[in-house]
Amino acid sequence: MQHAATPDRDEPGHDGKGDPPAKPTKIIVNGRQKETSAKELSFQDVVRLAFDDAVFNEVTIYTITFKRGHGDKPEGTLVEGETVKVKEGMIFNVARTDKS
């Protein structure tokens, strides 16, 4: 699994001709500005960006929604096992939608 903080030089689009290091992408996670150098984020990556004390177990489910993403999937939800491409200015929301 790819971690949000790890730059990914092998991602298609990097030609390796001595470009400056990839500029981190500015995104909004839970209403706050964050930066990531990853090109693609997994469900767990996004939860970690949202919560320092994120827990991953069988019974805890986070609801993730995103908007202003890449053209092929600009908005939607992300569940365990899925990844999404990152775009400058992309909005992520992560919450435990467990209140009534």
Binding site: G31, I61, T77, T97, D98, K99
Partner: protein
């Protein structure tokens, strides 16, 4: 109910006393055995139908000048259609047991003052050719119509559906038994919407008391006297909605291992409870019984710097057609009170919105609203105005 309505409304009573075969059924006013001449010059009997505008189960001034007709198009003595009242001809499903074929329009400049004036005016035009062909023919038969068996759930007629002409569609919602588990903010708004549908029995499950803070997250306006009585949530809401309808059953208990079997035999279940092990127990039982359900969930978070809130509202649906997404969408974790994102912020409008989304989804399941996507998970995010739909079978 219909007999009482007629006896309380002077215009309907006058119609009946004049010998017209007056009937109130499925929210409409009917006058049976209205003679008319058909296209073949024969004398036939039809039924004139009107919407009913009521205030407290007494007639008001008619809300529409249109009359509908069950039968062939009424004609003149020569078999030509009566053009004076001609309006539309097609199948009009006014209610499950009431289908008209024609509507007529004849509007006096000042409108109709009451239903006596409205119905007698139309019947006069419809019946005149028949009455001139044969002197023994009359719409005033003095035959008494037996009151239809009253199997409705409301204490007064649902004129909202009949005024809108959607009685036949509304009838699709008449499930026999529906449960709401959890009567907090979302559950109480959900009850508010469900109570106004023809569901026969609505069972409420919650062990909690209705306290002062609950009043700010529930529909309506509780009085301080009601709060001082410290009623249970289910009793408070049952009493409130019993003013409008029958069939609301209050169960002052939380659902757990001992009583989860109570959820057997429901046509549909709404889960509006905070998450936790009990939710897993309930969902396992509902899946085992193939009972369709909707789980609602809300997450509100605070931005400390800007003192603003944002939220995600979630509606997850499980039907016999699709259940395998539930484990990825619904959390069963015990709420963790430590993390700062775990404070229990809830806002009435978000509860109401989540409840409304859940009820709309249920109405799609019932075939009331068109459903092109059959999404089994839907979310709304407030801060970017995003509505999502996923998990299509």
């Amino acid at each position: 109910m219909s007999r009482a309505l007629i006896s309380r409304s002077p215009d309907l009573l006058r119609l009946q006393n004049d010998g017209y075969e007056v009937d109130v059924r499925s929210g409409h006013l009917l006058v049976h055995s209205v003679p008319y001449v058909n296209a073949r010059g024969e004398i036939a009997l039809g039924c004139a139908v009107s919407e009913l505008t009521l205030a407290g189960d007494v007639t008001s001034r008619p809300g529409s000048h249109i009359v509908m007709f069950v039968g062939e198009h009424p004609c003149n003595r020569d078999g030509s259609e009566i053009l004076q009242i001609k309006h539309q001809s097609h199948t009009m499903a006014l209610a499950a047991d009431l289908v008209a074929q024609h509507s007529f329009s004849n509007k006096p400049p000042q409108g109709y003052a009451d239903y006596y004036e409205k119905m007698t005016r139309y019947i006069e035009i419809i019946s005149a050719p028949a009455m001139s062909l044969r002197t023994d023919v009359t719409p005033r038969t003095y035959k008494v119509i037996e009151a239809a068996a009253d199997d409705g759930v409301f204490n007064y007629v649902d004129t909202a559906s009949t005024r809108a002409g959607i009685g036949a569609i509304t009838a699709k919602l008449a499930m026999r038994r529906v449960a709401i588990v959890g009567l907090g903010g979302t559950g109480s708004f959900l009850l508010d919407l469900l109570a106004k549908t023809p569901v026969q029995e609505i069972h409420l499950y919650d062990g909690d008391l209705f306290l002062q803070h609950n009043a700010f997250r529930a529909p309506g306006a509780a009085s301080i006297e009601e709060l001082r009585d410290r009623p249970s949530k289910v009793a408070y809401h049952r009493a409130n909605y019993a003013q409008m309808r029958r069939g609301i059953h209050a169960h002052r208990e939380y659902i757990g291992e001992d009583n989860v079997s109570q959820l057997q035999g429901f046509d549909f279940v709404f889960l509006c409870m905070d998450t936790g092990p009990a939710k897993k127990l309930i969902i396992d039982a509902l899946h085992a019984a193939n009972t369709p359900f909707i789980d609602t969930g809300l997450g509100v978070q605070m931005l400390e710097d800007s003192l603003e809130l944002w939220a995600i509202c979630r509606v997850t649906t499980s039907t016999p057609a699709k259940q395998d997404h539930v484990a990825r969408r619904i959390s069963f974790a015990v709420p963790d009170e430590d993390g700062d994102y775990e404070r229990n912020i809830q806002i009435a409008d978000l509860n109401a919105l989540t409840a409304a989304y859940a009820v709309i989804r249920w109405k799609k399941f019932c075939g009331f609203y068109q459903d092109l996507e059959h999404e089994h998970d839907s979310t709304y995010s407030t801060n970017c105005n995003l509505l999502t739909g996923d998990d299509v079978p």
